[in-house]
């Protein structure tokens, strides 16, 4: 599903985001990127949804070469990828419903179908009771659930999570990871960047450890768990 082949991202003559990274994530896997801040986890994720292009090497996502993707094709790639962030990125002046609806608006979904889909995905993340609330009225965990709902409402094949529990306490983090696992079990390929080692150890099937832009295990298959 996701293939990095000797990918290097250079920001300056001696500044690397990623350096000669080769990694494969198979369809339906739940993979983790671990490592300290600045290791290249976010750069890795950004390349998957074509927010960055490699300086060298190839990134293939669902068979499409990111470096060769035309700018006009990027939106269509992103419709198959859901992304959640540490800071949730919800619009404060919109309700839970409206925030989730943002992901369906570019697809021009009919109003009745839009409502149906949003209610279903909010049910999935346990937020149906708060559709008319603004993000400021929600806890951090609830906001992340809404962000997850927005990422999932298009039923993407790939879900990327960049430090999804970075702003949450241990209990909430546990709930979000359990939810991500559930999403993975429903068939989505999930890639999570996290430095929460405890949760990574608990949920990981496949771990890529990054340090200063390099994979600790350079073979590309990371560390697999039974």
């Amino acid at each position: 599903m996701i293939r990095f082949h000797r990918v290097t991202k250079r920001y300056g003559p001696h500044t690397y985001g990623l350096h000669e990274v080769t990694a494969h994530v198979e369809k339906g896997e739940m993979a983790f990127l671990s490592g300290p801040s600045g290791a290249g986890k976010t750069t890795f994720l950004r390349m998957i949804y074509a927010a960055e292009t490699p300086t060298e090497g190839q990134v293939l996502v669902a068979g499409r070469n990111i470096a060769k993707l035309r700018e006009s094709s990027i939106p269509y790639l992103r419709r198959n990828i859901g992304v959640v962030f540490q800071d949730f990125r919800l619009l404060p002046d919109r309700t839970v419903f409206e925030n989730v609806a943002m992901a369906l608006e570019p697809l021009h979904t009919a109003r009745d179908k839009l409502r149906q889909k949003i209610m279903a995905v909010l049910g999935q993340v346990g937020m149906t009771g708060k559709i008319d609330e603004k993000p400021s009225a929600l806890s951090g965990g609830e906001q992340q659930r809404v962000a997850l709902a927005r990422a999932l409402v298009n039923e993407p094949a790939i879900l990327l999570a960049d430090e999804p529990t970075g702003n949450l306490d241990a209990g909430m983090s546990q709930q979000i990871f359990a939810l991500l696992r559930e999403i993975n079990l429903r068939g989505a390929t999930v890639v999570i960047a996290s430095h929460n080692d405890e949760l990574v150890e608990k949920y990981a099937q496949h771990i890529f450890r990054l340090e200063r832009g390099r994979l600790v295990n350079p073979r590309g298959d990371g560390e697999r768990r039974p």
Binding site: Y49, E71, S72, P75, Y76, L77, R78, R79, V83, R89, L91, D93, M102, A103, E105, P106, L107, H108, T109, A110, R111, R150, N154
Partner: protein, 301 residues
């Protein structure tokens, strides 16, 4: 398609409402900028109508020597009647001229009487045929009359028409220059407003990009907002111009006798609705163009 159009207008309306005061400010600034060339254009247009009317009603007057005999006057009138452009020729004797003078300016007639003899010369009032009225008399026509025996001076109004046309040309020139300058300023205002909107909505735009929105999807409402601002600005400009026109019309119609004497009874006219509509459409087009340029420059998708 229906859902896409509905969504586009829905998002535009939501954005316009969310930034209501900033949009109202932009619309009024554009309206003020648009009103100035519109006022000048209206003045020029009215002056143009006045010139046309003046030309249409133009009467050529040939003044005859005070020494000319009645036979000479009648012969000159007959010669003029034979010219192809002439419809009628009316002989006004010195006495009739003095009588008119007394009727029109009763206060000044005493001065004329004190002179002892009638100072006003006889004249021939020449009305041109309708086909010739829309054009000022040619120099050739005036020269033909001037050459007749007894004719001392011909007042064909060309001097006045020339002056009015020059004034009209200057007025249109000022209108055009001011229009170009203020239209550019209005375009910059809309462009700047769109740039600010892009900045204020950077988070929203970022999320839309993330969920797979196309350039067209993100740019669409911004273009519509620019067009709406331009259209509303033009309407405000027309409204300001209309208010000034109403005020000017009121002042001119309630005028005193001096004003009536100087200007006759001028009736100001409002633009035909097609021109007002074209001005509004031009405003919308200007807003759309400014928004397009602004999004192209500042919206990196």
């Amino acid at each position: 398609m229906k859902d896409a159009v509905h969504g586009l207008f829905g998002r535009t309306w939501r954005n316009l409402r969310a930034e209501l005061w900033s949009n109202i400010g932009t619309v009024f600034a554009v309206g003020l900028a648009a009103s100035i060339p519109l006022v000048f254009a209206l003045a020029a247009w009215n002056l143009g109508r006045l010139v046309d009317k003046f030309v249409g009603q133009l009467e050529v007057v040939a003044y005859i020597s005070v020494d000319a005999s009645e036979a000479q006057i009648a012969a000159a009138a007959a010669d003029i009647r034979r010219l192809p452009a002439v419809e009628t020729v009316t002989v006004v004797t010195s006495e009739q001229a003095l009588q008119r003078f007394a009727e029109e300016l009763p206060d000044a007639v005493g001065v004329a009487r004190e002179l002892g003899e009638n100072p006003l010369p006889p004249s021939l009032e020449i009305v041109l045929k309708p086909a010739y009225r829309d054009l000022p008399p040619t120099a050739e026509f005036t020269a033909q009359i001037q050459a007749l025996t007894g004719v001392v001076e011909v007042d064909d109004g060309r001097q006045w028409i020339g002056r009015l046309n020059r004034l009209l040309r200057y007025l249109w020139m000022i209108t055009t220059l001011m229009g170009l300058f203020l239209t550019s300023a209005a375009g910059l205002l809309v462009g700047h407003a769109i740039r600010l909107a892009i900045y204020r909505r950077r988070e929203e735009i970022g999320i839309y990009r993330l969920v797979g929105a196309t350039n067209r999807f993100i740019r669409g409402p911004l273009l519509l907002e620019g067009a709406a601002q331009g259209l509303a600005g033009a309407v405000v400009g027309l409204a300001i111009c209309w208010a000034l026109y109403r005020y000017a019309a009121y002042r001119l119609h309630s005028g005193d006798s001096l004003q009536s004497w100087l200007l006759g009874s001028p009736h100001l006219h409002w633009f035909p609705w097609t021109i007002a509509l074209a001005a509004a459409a031009a405003g919308a087009l200007l807003g759309l163009t400014a928004s397009f340029l602004s999004t192209r420059r500042f919206l990196r998708i």
